[in-house]
Symmetry: D2
Subunit: 298 residues, 4 copies
C-alpha cells in the first residue's frame, strides 16, 4: 500500500519533443535520495497532456529503467481518447510500471453515470492497478460519491489522488472509502498535506517535492508521528516555499514554471516547457533565484 | 473564401475504434446533396478529442476520398500536444485536405500571450491554411482581441469559427477583423446563424446540418438575400429542431447524442459514440423518433 | 404593451446618499427628447442595489414627477429581502409608477422551484404589473423554462427583460412565450438589440441609450421596419460606441462608469457613483472624452 | 481577543417578517450552555440578506438583551448599500453589540482596489470594531492579499472569518496576518475547524454548532490542547453530522434548511425560512429526524 510522498515529476525536456535524459536521471536520483515513496510521471506537473505520445512512451521506459525498482513508478494515462489511455497503460505494463493513474477525460465534461461506465470499460482491459486522480479544476468534472462508490467495487482500483483543493470533499472521501482500507488516499496540493495526513490521508503528491523532497518527506513523517510542533514548523516552511515560488509569473502555469525554473537553477534539469507554455524569461528567473536564496535552497 | 454552411460532421463509428465507413459515405452524400459548402471533420460534434489517432488519420483519408473534391474538407487538429496537432496537419496535407481548424489546447488554460506564442510556433510549420476555432466552453480560454490581432498578421490564418455562443463577442470580432476582408467568419451554434449572417458573418458551422442540411443552407441563403420573412420562418424551424432534439438526455453530451441518434433513425449512419459517451437507450431514442416525426423529418 | 427603447437610467448622485436632482431632470428630458418608450429606474445601470432605501424611494417619487406621464416609469424592486421588495413596490404604486421590475434575489442562489414559490408569493401582494428581469451574471440564477412557464400563468406578469447575453436562451424564450402575445420581450445589452428585434423581440433596455437615446431608437425603428441596410449601419455605430466607451477602466463596473462619465462630459448629470464604485479619475475621463469626440457625440 | 466557537445563529422566524422570540431565547441559552465564545447574528446561516431591515434591527436588539453580556454579540452588517451597512452598524452600537462583521457587497463584484476604498470609507464612520468576512461563493469576490494588507492598517479591523472553503487561501492568510497577532482568524465551514485550529486559527464560525454546540467546542478545545486522538474522533463526528444533515434536500439552501429543521425537531425554535427559501416538507423532515437519531442527538 502506497504511503508517503509521491512527487509528480516534472518532465525534463531539451526541446519540444526531446527528453532531457540526463536531467531526468538527476531528478530521479534527487527524489529517491530525498526519501520519496514513489514516482508519478505524466501528471499535471509533468505536463503529460502537452507531450506527444512517442515522448510519453519514452518517458515511461526511461523512468522505469532509472528508478530500477527502488521505488514504484506510477504512470499517468489520462487522455480524452479511451484507446490512447489503454495504449499508454499497455506500454507502461510492458515496461514494468507498477500502476497507472487516471483522471477524467478532459475535453467533454462527462456526467457521473457516464464516468462510471467509461471507467468500468477501461478497468476491464487494464493490465495494471489504477489510482483515480480527481482534478476537477482541469478536467471540469469532480468524482462525486457515486463514482467513488462504483470504483470501490473494482479491485484494480487501489487508491485516489485528490487535487480538488477542497478539504470538505477530502474528508467526505475519507469517510466514504473506509470500506476499502487498502486504498491509498493521497492529497495533491502540498499546502494541504499536513492536515490531510493528520486527519487520515496516506500521503501527498506534491509538486514542490521536485525541488526539495526531504522537506515534504519530513512533514509527512512528522504528521504520521503526530509531532504537532514539528508539523507546524515544516508546514510553515512548505507554505513559505509555495507562497514564494508559485507566485512568480501571472499565468496559471506559474506553478509548473516555478518548479522547472527552480530545478534548473539547482542544476538538476532543463527548464524547457512543452507548448503552450514557455520557460520564465530572465526577470522571473531572477525572482526565483532570490526566493531560492531566501529559502536557503540555493 | 469559405461561405455558407459547413457542417461539423459527426464521426460514424461501428465500435470504439472502428469507422462506420458506409455510414460516413451516406452522411457525406446526404450533406453534399443538401448544398453544404464544406465538410469540417474532427470538431466537437465529431467527437474529435475522444478518437484515437489511428482513427483520426483514417477519417481524414476517407472523408477526403469520399468528398472527391466536390466541397473542401477542413480537418480539426486541435490537441493538447503541439506535436500531435502538427502530425495531424501533415497527415491532412498529404491526403489532400484543404485546410485545418485549431482550437486552443484544452487541458491547461493558456494565457493570451502564451496562446499567441503557441500559435505562432505552430503556424510556422503548418502545411495548410488554418481556421481558428474559438470554443471557450470546452477549452477554458477565449480568443481575446490580442490573439485575434496577432492571428490577423499571419497569412496562413484565413478565418475563424466562433462557438463562444456570445454574440457581443461575435460583433466585436466582426469589427476587429475588418482589416482582413479575406477571412471567413463562421458562427458555431445554429441558433445564432440567422442573426450572425444578417449582421455580417459568412456562414455557419451548425451541428444540426448533419440531420437536415437543406434547412440550414436555405436559412443561410435567405439571410444573404436579406429576405427577412423567410429568415424568420426558417430560423423558427431551426430553433424548433434544436429545442426538441437537443433537449433529450440530461448530460452535456445531449446535443451530439441527439444528432447521432437522429441520423441513425434516418438510416444514415450508426449512433455508436466514442467513450466517455454512449448512445441513447430505448426511451430517449423513442423521444427522438417522436421529435423527428413532429418536425416532419421522419 | 411596451415596445421600443426603455433605457435603464443611471442614478445621478451628488454624493453617496444624495440625488443630483437637476441632473436627473436633465437626464429625463434628454431621454424623452430622444424618443424613448419608457424609463426604467433602479436597475443594474441605475446601481439600484447600491443605493440606500430612502434614496431609492426618493428617486421613484422624483422620476415619476419628472416624467409627468409622458412615458411610463418602471421601478426596479429587486432585493434579497421579500419585505423590502414589497415595500418598494407599494411605494412605487402610491406615487404613480406604471409597473415594477424584478430580478431574482441575489445573495442566495435559489433553485427554480424556490423561485417559482417566491415569485408566486410576491405576485399575490403586488400592487402593480411586473416585468421579470433575467440577470444570471449578477443574481447567479437563470430563469429556466419552468420559471417562465409558471410566470406565464400570472396575469400580473407582463413581460421580461433578458440580460443573460445568451441569444440561444433568448430565442427559446421567444418560442416559449408565444402563448402570452401580450408579453413584452426586451433585451438587455445594446449589442444584441438589432438581432433581437429583427427576430421577434419588442425592444431593448440599453444602457448606452442614456448617452445617445436617438441612436438606439433609430436602430429599433429600422429593425421594426425591416430596413436591413439601416439596421447594419446603426448596429455598427452601437458596437462602435460600446467597444469604445465600455472598454475604459479595468473593473466590471467599467460600463456604468463609462456611461456616467460620458453623461457628465455631455453636461447632463454628475458622475458620482454609489460605493463600492467610484467615478473615473482624470486619465480615464480623458479617454472617454476622446472616444466621445471620435463618436461625434462631443 | 475572540477565540473558540462562535456560531452563526439561524434566525428563528414565526413568519416572513416576525421573529420567533421565544425560539431565539431558547437558541441563545442552548448555545451559551454549550460553551460557545460569542454569538454571530445576521450572517449567511442567519439568512441575514433575506430579512427586512426592521426585523434585522429587532434581532440585533433582542439578541443583545438575551445574551446579557455573557458572551459577545457580533452583528452582520453586510449589504449592497453602503448607507444601510452603516445604519445597521450604528443601530448595533446603540444597543450594545460588541463588533460588526462585513462581507463584500454582493450584487456588483467589486475589484480589489474598489473594495479597499469602500472598506476604508466605511471604517472611518464605523462606531464598532469589525471582522472581515470572506465569502466569495456568495459575494463573487475573494479578499486577495492587497485587501488583507490594507485592512491590517486599520485598527478597527480585529479579525477575519474565512468561509472560502479554500485551505490553501487560509494558510496564506495565516502567513499574511502575522503582523497583526491581535487578529482573530476564524474558519467558516465546520468540516475545516479541526485542521484550521491545529495549524494556527483561533476558532470556528460553524453552522452545525447551532444544533450541537458542545461537540464543536470540544473539538476546538482538543485542537488547542493538541490532543490529536480526540481531535480525530470529534472531527469524524462533525463530518458525520455534516454529511448527513446537510445532504438532505437538493438546493444550495440544504445546509440552512437542515439546521433549522434539526433545531425544530429538537424543540428549540421554529423552522420557518425567509423567502426565497421554504422549510423542508414532511419527507425531508423525516430524513432529518432519522439522521438526528443516528447521531444520538434525538
Amino acid at each position: 500500500m502506497l504511503k508517503g510522498i509521491v512527487p509528480p515529476l516534472v518532465t525534463p525536456l531539451s526541446d519540444r519533443d526531446t527528453l532531457d535524459v540526463s536531467g531526468l536521471e538527476r531528478l530521479i536520483e534527487h527524489l529517491i535520495a530525498g526519501g520519496v515513496s514513489g514516482l508519478f510521471i505524466l501528471g499535471t506537473t509533468g505536463e503529460g497532456p502537452s507531450l506527444g505520445y512517442r515522448l510519453r512512451r519514452e518517458l515511461i521506459e526511461r523512468a522505469i529503467t532509472l528508478a530500477a525498482g527502488r521505488v514504484p513508478v506510477l504512470a499517468g494515462i489520462t487522455d480524452t481518447a479511451f484507446t490512447e489511455s489503454l495504449n499508454l497503460a499497455r506500454h507502461a505494463a510492458e515496461h514494468g510500471a507498477d500502476s497507472v493513474v487516471l483522471a477524467a477525460p478532459y475535453y467533454f465534461p462527462a456526467g457521473q453515470a457516464e464516468l462510471i461506465e467509461y471507467m468500468g470499460d477501461l478497468i476491464k482491459e487494464l493490465p495494471l492497478p489504477m489510482y483515480l486522480y480527481n482534478m476537477p479544476g482541469l478536467t471540469k468534472v469532480n468524482f462525486e460519491s457515486s463514482v467513488i462508490r462504483a470504483a470501490m467495487q473494482w479491485e484494480k482500483v487501489i487508491g485516489i489522488k485528490d487535487s480538488s483543493c477542497d478539504m470538505i470533499y477530502f474528508h467526505k472521501l475519507l469517510r466514504l472509502t473506509k470500506q476499502r482500507p487498502d486504498w491509498s488516499l493521497l492529497v495533491g496540493p502540498e499546502e494541504l498535506t499536513a492536515e490531510a495526513v493528520l486527519l487520515g490521508a496516506h500521503g501527498g503528491v506534491n509538486g514542490g517535492a521536485n525541488i526539495h523532497p526531504r522537506l515534504y518527506v519530513d512533514l509527512y513523517e512528522a504528521a504520521v508521528a503526530q509531532d504537532l510542533a514539528k508539523v507546524r514548523e515544516l508546514h510553515t516552511r512548505v507554505i513559505e516555499l509555495a507562497s514564494r515560488i508559485y507566485a512568480v509569473g501571472r499565468h496559471k502555469s506559474a506553478i509548473i514554471k516555478g518548479i522547472k525554473c527552480s530545478l534548473n537553477l539547482l542544476g538538476i534539469c532543463s527548464d524547457v516547457m512543452a507548448e503552450p507554455f514557455h520557460r520564465f524569461e530572465a526577470p522571473e528567473r531572477e525572482q526565483i533565484r532570490d526566493h531560492l536564496h531566501a529559502l536557503h535552497l540555493l
